[in-house]
Symmetry: C2
Subunit: 193 residues, 2 copies
DNA sequence: CGAAAATTTGACATGACTCAACTGGAGTGG
DNA sequence: CCACTCCAGTTGAGTCATGTCAAATTTTCG
């Protein structure tokens, strides 16, 4: 079962004991989605945390010109959620869409709050998980405000060599904040040097 | 005393009880810095969390061309720390420098870890604090990858009207990732419309 | 196989940077 | 209190990075 992946994921932090595993298992829902299906759509409230057990998904915004801007990718053993919408319970401006056929483990908000209250270890573990995500986002912001497209692209493939092989350059361009056409010329220049 | 500000800050989350307040008080160090003094410098390990009780500071990186890139500002009642360096205990690539004469409340890493272990409420509170910071960073990334300089500037002054009045446009330009000259032309264009 | 999407290429447009010069406070020392 | 310096802010000319649009080609996937 896929929940073993989640339990193993937590063993990277403070491992769960029997009672915690039982409680967690009771509130995890497994959801299978095919490529191009949505886990979240703009206008709806994001009321669950999503853990990717298998596959690959993206979270993005569509701007006023209809263009997609990728905020985050997630593959096996990582979390992807519109935490802003989850917290405030206001409608999301984001989409979460499967790039590959995927298996998602979802925890509903009331269940997660219960886990936090009954088992402080979840507060601890999610604190550390989000700290790590925060650190990665800070590095991304630094690149955004200080690097050229070429530098950002090279940093991306160095940081996420696994992702890089699974997603198209259109997706990477959207994540970096450049057009696919320009990324193409950047890649050409890199390959020549 | 300034520690009251910190205790009050936590009351925005789960309020601290007597024992927690006592424990916290024992590990908070008050530090006064003047304008242009450093709280952290590149090459040193960031081994404390910094809470701004009074004043205003910035955290930035200096790139290979000697240019500053502002990652974060902090004013009263907010946290500013190189969490990456704090976690991994590798030397920081960032500077934290006072923009105004300031009062900082510092918690050393071993003390913070003790607070986490002895009082789970700190895990909870810092989880929520960092979640909020994470949400703000995600919004910033979305602007970085999808907006023009003008849109980013307008979003900045709408989001941080308080900060906007206390710091120079040079600092804002560095935060947005544009040159001060170009920000100047953007501001001129805005004032005309 | 066939449709849809990804990738590349080129001509052109524009947003943003560089560099240099100038102006006008704000702080500092005599 | 003045003279001085330093820095923020502005302006303009020229340049570079990146975007737009359109078209052709290749790849992917159902």
């Amino acid at each position: 079962m896929h929940i073993d992946l989640l339990i193993h994921h937590f063993s990277n932090y403070l491992s769960l004991d029997e009672k915690e595993i039982t409680a967690l298992s009771l509130c995890v829902n497994e959801k299978r989605v095919k490529r191009k299906q949505f886990i979240l759509q703009e206008g709806t409230i994001c009321n669950h945390y999503n853990f990717i057990a298998k596959g690959c998904v993206k979270m993005y915004k569509i701007d006023k010109n209809g263009k997609e801007h990728n905020l985050q990718f997630a593959i096996e053993n990582s979390w992807i959620t519109d935490i802003g919408s989850f917290h405030s319970e206001i409608p999301s401006e984001l989409y979460i869409e499967a790039i590959e056929n995927s298996v998602i483990l979802q925890i509903e908000k009331p269940d997660l709050l219960n886990l936090y209250t009954n088992f402080p270890k979840f507060d601890r573990n999610f604190r550390v998980i989000i700290e790590d995500a925060f650190i990665a986002l800070q590095i991304r912001v630094l690149h955004n405000i200080s690097s050229t497209a070429e530098e950002k692209y090279l940093a991306f493939i160095a940081t996420y060599p696994d992702l890089f092989q699974r997603i198209s350059n259109v997706q990477i361009a959207s994540y970096l904040g450049v057009t696919p056409e320009f990324l193409s010329t950047v890649r050409k220049k890199i390959s020549k040097s």
